[in-house]
Symmetry: C2
Subunit: 202 residues, 2 copies
């Protein structure tokens, strides 16, 4: 016997195992759970999968994930259009939105410059960013990109291109809130020192 | 804005979150991964889900999960039909099959007796087991049921019913292979002592 699972179950487990972070044990647990659920639930999950894939594309302005040609954030008159926050991925937009602290617009690059992986600036949405950033109402571009090697390269590359048109800033790196000096790695500590600011006395 | 996700993405995340062991973070990660995959992959996953649900039922003999009316194990002439191994769930059949040490047949009860949860013997596949076990070719019924309170109750109940027809055994409980006496809990150690066997000198 090649498999201990009946064929359709084996196929489902194989499909689930392709998901990131899902190993054979978890795939089996999920599959056995799923086939015990009512058929309507399974239909709903299959439907949600197909609809998400078919309906979600990229916003034509900022390249964030969107079911409409222009995403909710770009289309919203409540959002401040003087500021553009540049991120690598839609995931980062979601993370920043969850803070509820930022009310400007976004621009999703779609990755980071990585010569090793063959990702050059032409693969990223950099040209449309330059066009957006050179519009008169834009006052500041915030680069919110991870402090990795690829992130630094991308930040410097994009920053240089934008400098002629607009004020360019980047997010702060340092000790995380709740973090402990004693446990912080040297890179983080070095960044925290370099990024020190004068205390604003009230 | 009610959600930071575009609607079809929010629906997919909501569906994924209903799976056991999948929290909001994992659901988001899976959803963002899935919508980046080629549409054919998503179709294959949706298809596998629906087919597994529609095609997999229970074997009419042993109640193991099966896409056929009679499962591969029950239908196989290679399997020893003198022995029936009784388990609570199809998961247990899969676990035992993976050892490749057992070559008899199975019987899946479909749960354990649990008065607290309202599960009485009538809810389990006990009557068909008695019919199977009283067939002349059956020589031994092995009860392979977890050593929990419900498991003990079920083992004793089923064991009493089968005793008149057939030899009834149960799997051994004791120190797991690689386990450490010093770290074993008292129940396990008590079981290991009670289950001691004379050494078989070669």
């Amino acid at each position: 016997m090649s498999s201990v699972y009946t064929r359709p179950l084996a196929r489902l487990i194989e499909q689930l195992q392709r998901l990131p972070g899902i190993g054979p044990k978890t795939a089996q647990r999920l599959a056995l759970h799923l086939i015990k659920r009512p058929e309507a639930d399974i239909q709903a999950l299959a439907q949600a999968l197909l609809e998400a894939k078919q309906q979600v594309g990229l916003c034509s302005v900022c390249f964030h994930l969107s079911a409409e040609p222009v995403c909710e954030i770009c289309a919203s008159p409540q959002r401040d259009n003087h500021t553009i926050c540049v991120v690598a991925d839609s995931r980062d937009v979601i993370a920043i939105e969850k803070t509820r602290e930022y009310h400007g617009k976004y621009h999703v690059l779609g990755g980071l410059i990585s010569p090793l992986e063959g990702i050059t600036p032409e693969h990223l949405h950099i040209q449309p960013l330059i066009q957006r950033a050179s519009q008169p109402q834009v006052e500041e571009v915030i680069l919110a990109i991870n402090p990795s090697i690829e992130g630094e390269t991308t930040t410097l590359y994009v920053g240089q291109l934008l400098r002629p048109f607009v004020k360019v800033t980047r997010i702060a790196f340092g000790l995380p809130v709740g973090g402990d000096l004693d446990y912080a790695d040297e890179m983080t500590l070095a960044r925290a020192l370099a990024g020190r600011r004068e205390i604003e006395w009230q």
